[in-house]
């Protein structure tokens, strides 16, 4: 579903992604873990081209994103309309929720359905309410984001992305801005999504979630994937010293 090959990206003199290969099959859940500044968020943002990339390719459902493939090896930036069409099929959940504060929870979910999917008013609101029900927030449909807790806001954001019926969901540290108490409710929703077979790429620091829900963990450091495999192996028996060292500090911190 997502094919990333030889991906490179630089910000000025700093090369953030230095040749990343990663593929995610349909219905697969992959957690992307790494220290801060490792390039994991940038990598995720390249998948829906919120971040452009310099070399390599990112394919979603077989189609290269962000660039048009010509017959002549030279690639041109993709037409905006085609990029928008691809983005509709890729759901994204942000660390800071990024809800639209002047719209109610229901309107946040219905807005893209109306504007992008072109659904009629009644149909859009019906689907939006169904999505809010699904994330357990039907009773908060008319509340503005400022009246919701972080966990509730993030669940609305998930409902907004999900309502578009995407092929793939991207999560950019979805629980990092939440109080520890509120993390669970968001992870619960993500877990149920995974159980339903959604293809998910998740940047996270939630090792427990990664261990239990992900099919694979990809460990990224300094713009390179250092290890990529089943959670148990990457978390406990990685052949890479850097990966072992990273998780060792994590294990130490959590042994109480």
């Amino acid at each position: 579903m997502i094919e990333i090959r030889g991906l490179r990206k630089r910000f000025g003199a700093h090369e953030v992604l230095r040749g990343v290969d990663l593929s995610i099959a349909a219905s697969e859940v992959v957690c992307l873990i790494g220290p801060s500044g490792s390039g994991k968020s940038t990598l995720l943002r390249c998948v829906n081209f919120l971040e452009s990339y310099d070399a390599g390719e990112v394919r979603v459902a077989g189609q290269l994103i962000g660039y048009e493939e010509g017959p002549d090896e030279i690639r041109r930036p993709m037409a905006a309309r085609r990029l928008r069409k691809m983005r509709r099929e890729i759901g994204m959940v942000f660390q800071h929720f990024n809800l639209w504060p002047h719209m109610s929870a229901l309107n946040n979910v219905a807005e893209p359905l109306r504007r992008v999917r072109g659904l009629a008013h009644a149909e859009a609101y019906e689907r939006a309410l169904a999505m809010l029900t699904r994330v357990g927030l039907a009773d908060k449909a008319h509340a503005f984001p400022s009246r919701l807790s972080g966990g509730q806001q993030q669940r609305v954001a998930i409902a907004r992305a999900l309502a578009m019926q995407p092929n793939v969901m991207l999560f950019d540290e979805p629980t990092s801005a939440l109080d520890p108490e509120l993390v669970g409710e968001v992870l619960e929703v993500m877990k149920s999504l995974a159980a339903e077979g959604m293809t998910m790429l998740i940047v996270t620091h939630e090792m427990g979630f990664a261990a239990n829900v992900a099919k694979r963990i990809a460990f990224i450091d300094e713009g390179r994937i250092l290890d990529d495999g089943p959670p148990r192996r990457v978390l406990h028996e990685s052949p890479e010293p850097r990966v072992r060292q990273f998780f060792q500090t994590y294990h130490d911190r959590n042994s109480f």
Binding site: L50, N98, W100, P101, H102, M103, A110, H142, A143, F144
Partner: protein, 223 residues
């Protein structure tokens, strides 16, 4: 203080107050409209246009309103722009304030968090929809308090119009003072009228602010 003088001059004072409110209202509306257009044009990021707008804003913010008004009213005829005193006054207020309003709207746009725009992009919203549904509402909400503030400032700038004989409140007061030698009374009445105007503006402004930021306090009405 001679109340009988004020009563005798009441009709002209009230008419002057009316002219003041009219000049302020129309000039302010013109300034807001023009300033909004300027702020939108800034967003196009066309280098020569941006540069020209920058010069416009800096010139009208950087020179006294009195000077601008004189140039427009007295200098206008030299370039074929013949305006009545009132028309020149309203146009002057509009153009002068548009420079400030343009900056207010620009700041409003800058106040919309980039994450909200990225969220719109990530679901595939068009730039037009993103502007109309996400950026613009956020920008206008952020701009409301400084707009009200600028309108209050502008209401007091209207006194300058008396210099080019617009028959507004200041002008009528000066006439009264000159004809009856009641300098103190006229100044006192002036202050009262303006206080009334500013107080009314502030009150309306507070209501508008409360209205546009309602989503921060209450639950929305069912859609």
């Amino acid at each position: 203080m001679s109340l009988d003088v004020l009563i005798r001059y009441a009709p002209s004072l009230i008419s002057g107050f009316g002219v003041t409110v009219m000049c302020w209202g129309v000039g302010g509306a013109l300034g807001i409209a023009l300033g909004f257009v300027i702020a939108l044009l800034f967003r196009l990021r066309i280098a020569p246009l941006t540069w020209a707008l920058r010069v416009f804003v800096e010139v009208f913010r950087g020179t006294p309103f009195l000077v601008q008004l004189f140039l427009l009213y007295a200098g206008g005829p030299y370039i074929g722009l013949r305006l009545s005193a009132t028309a020149a006054g309203v146009l002057g207020l509009g153009v002068y304030s548009s420079a400030y309003f343009a900056e207010i709207f620009r700041a409003g746009f800058a106040a919309v968090p980039v994450g909200q725009i990225e969220a719109a992009m990530s679901v595939g919203m068009t730039p037009r929809d993103t502007l109309l549904r996400v950026t613009l509402p956020g920008a206008l909400i952020a701009a409301t308090p400084p707009i009200v503030n600028m309108l209050v400032v502008l209401s007091k700038e209207t006194v300058v119009l008396s210099i080019i004989t617009v028959p507004e409140l200041m002008y009528q007061m000066q006439t009264m003072a000159a004809e009856t030698f009641t300098a103190f009374d006229s100044i006192f009445a002036m202050a009262a009228f303006y206080w009334l105007l500013v107080e009314a503006t502030s009150r309306v402004g507070r209501r508008v602010e409360a209205r546009v930021t309602a989503f921060l306090q209450e639950e929305a009405k069912p859609a």
